[in-house]
Amino acid sequence: MSAASQSQTVQFQEAPPRVSEWKRFRRVFFQRKIVLFGLVVLLLLFFTAAFAPWIAPYDPYRGNMADSLQHPSKKYWLGTDIQGRDVLSRLIFGARTTVMVGFLTVLMAASAGMIMGLTAGYFGGMTGTVIMRFVDSLMAFPMLLLALVLAAVLGSGIHNVIIALGVATTPGYARVMYGLTLSLRENDYVTASRAMGATDRQIMLRHILPNSLPPVIVLVTLQLGNIILAEAGLSFLGIGIKPPGAAWGAMVFDGYRYLLTHPVLSFAPGLAIMLVVFAFNMVGDGLRDALDPRLRGLL
């Protein structure tokens, strides 16, 4: 190292004013209007999913055959499908499918992936290599294809879609957790803790896991959008929820045949998917900006 650069490190920089982490998070997160918009959409989604039976104007599963294929009107805001079922009510119940699949899948994939990445990164060596190569091999399958194959093997049904999507998205978490663990375990507090006699398990759970959470939370939010898209794709193909259950992707497919005369049947659920995925992406972006320590001082 040259003398010039050494003298540079000695120079004191003005310390940035101390701001509480939480205050900065709030300021950065709520700064952008679009993030706020995403947040509102998500709150609406959760509300709709939770209170679907009270909000929906009609029974989503049983239609009135006399009212088959109605155009949007005061009575049916978004019209009715071939079986005379109210499209709006089915959309509202479809929100339940979306939320359930999204959250259960993320829960499964994030916990499995984090355990794999943490173990591989912390212990390294042969264990690490085998785990991470296995993860690589899962990464070689396109997510939708892997989910399709798993759903085919396990059989249709919403719980199998969750398992399939969970397995297909696990590698992402494993990769991120692996990278985080590799860098976190080099920290002085880990060495200190080990010197004080902490076991591997204690270090992993008390030091590495909590410190890796912010990036994982961002990944979870962004992944939720992808999972919802994949679930919609699978249900569009006819895999997943069984009729008369409502799922947005399946509604797009059902409306496909009446595209020329009743485009709203396909357009409305597609728009719902898009809006929700957009909301998750925006909130994810906002969380990333607010949680990334490298942006501290910049934002």
């Binding site: 091999s137 070689a140 396109p142 399709l148 194959v149 794709g233 485009p263």
Partner: protein, 319 residues
Amino acid sequence: MTAYIVRRLVMAVFVLFMVTLVVFFVMRLIPGDPLIIFLGQSAQLGSMSAEELEHLRKEYGLDKPIVVQYVNWLRDITSGNLGTSIYYREKVGKLLMERFPITLHIGLTAYVVANGLGVLLGLLAAVRRGTWIDAVATTFANVGITIPVFWLGLLLMYVLGLKLGWLPISGYTSPFQNFWLSMKQIIMPVACLSVTGLAVIARQTRSSMLEVIRQDYIRTAWSKGLGERLVIMRHALKNSLIPVITLMGIGLGLVFGGSVLVETVFAIPGVGRLLVSSVFAKDYVVIQSGTLIIASIIVMINLIVDIAYGWLDPRIRYT
């Protein structure tokens, strides 16, 4: 560099081996008798006598230990024998050979469009940051990663096919048969398949360009009086493409995954549609081989991407 390539090659072979393990054992997850894989129907099994079952088990080698079955299967597929489809009653190799060119034609076109336009869009957005170009590109990218591929297909079909009548709404024609019809038919599928990749690439290019533009060497390049084209193309773009290239490796998966949906929407007789119909027909032999081949292609492409990566960025070779 040679050591790096060799290391990557060994890794790729190992991953490929894991891929075969995953495919083989996932197929064994099918509840019930593994004979279902070759018969496709559990109902058929129920009506068979114990002797017939025993005979079939011998015929398909299912009486042997699972490791031996795996090795036999591996030997078969590496010698090009992919088995016989239950549903189509044809050699799986032949079925796939007929369909792969179609999927690759549309898929690779989409791949090139996504990467080319994506980099261009991201570049423009970064260089003209804060202008309307940036606003349009960023909005487009945000919509692109959000829109369900199959739904975009329906929208395009509705507007361009049904309402305006500009493009044929479905089907596939080989470009060697009727070039213009083929071109017109693939416009919408290519648009759908490329949109997600395009958006992802544009976002990444934009943000890494913005990162690079702040660097000292870019200021140096400006201050020694280089023109904008030279600064951007030679100094900034080259360096900002490194993270973009990683995404290009992932993008191929998007294309293959998306082809499952797009080929269904536009009634294109490619591998994606074959796999979907095989899933419904419980034609496990086709699913097994199709998935294996797609995964292998992706492993190979990622190997190439990795090597390109090491070639572009010497720092990576030594870690």
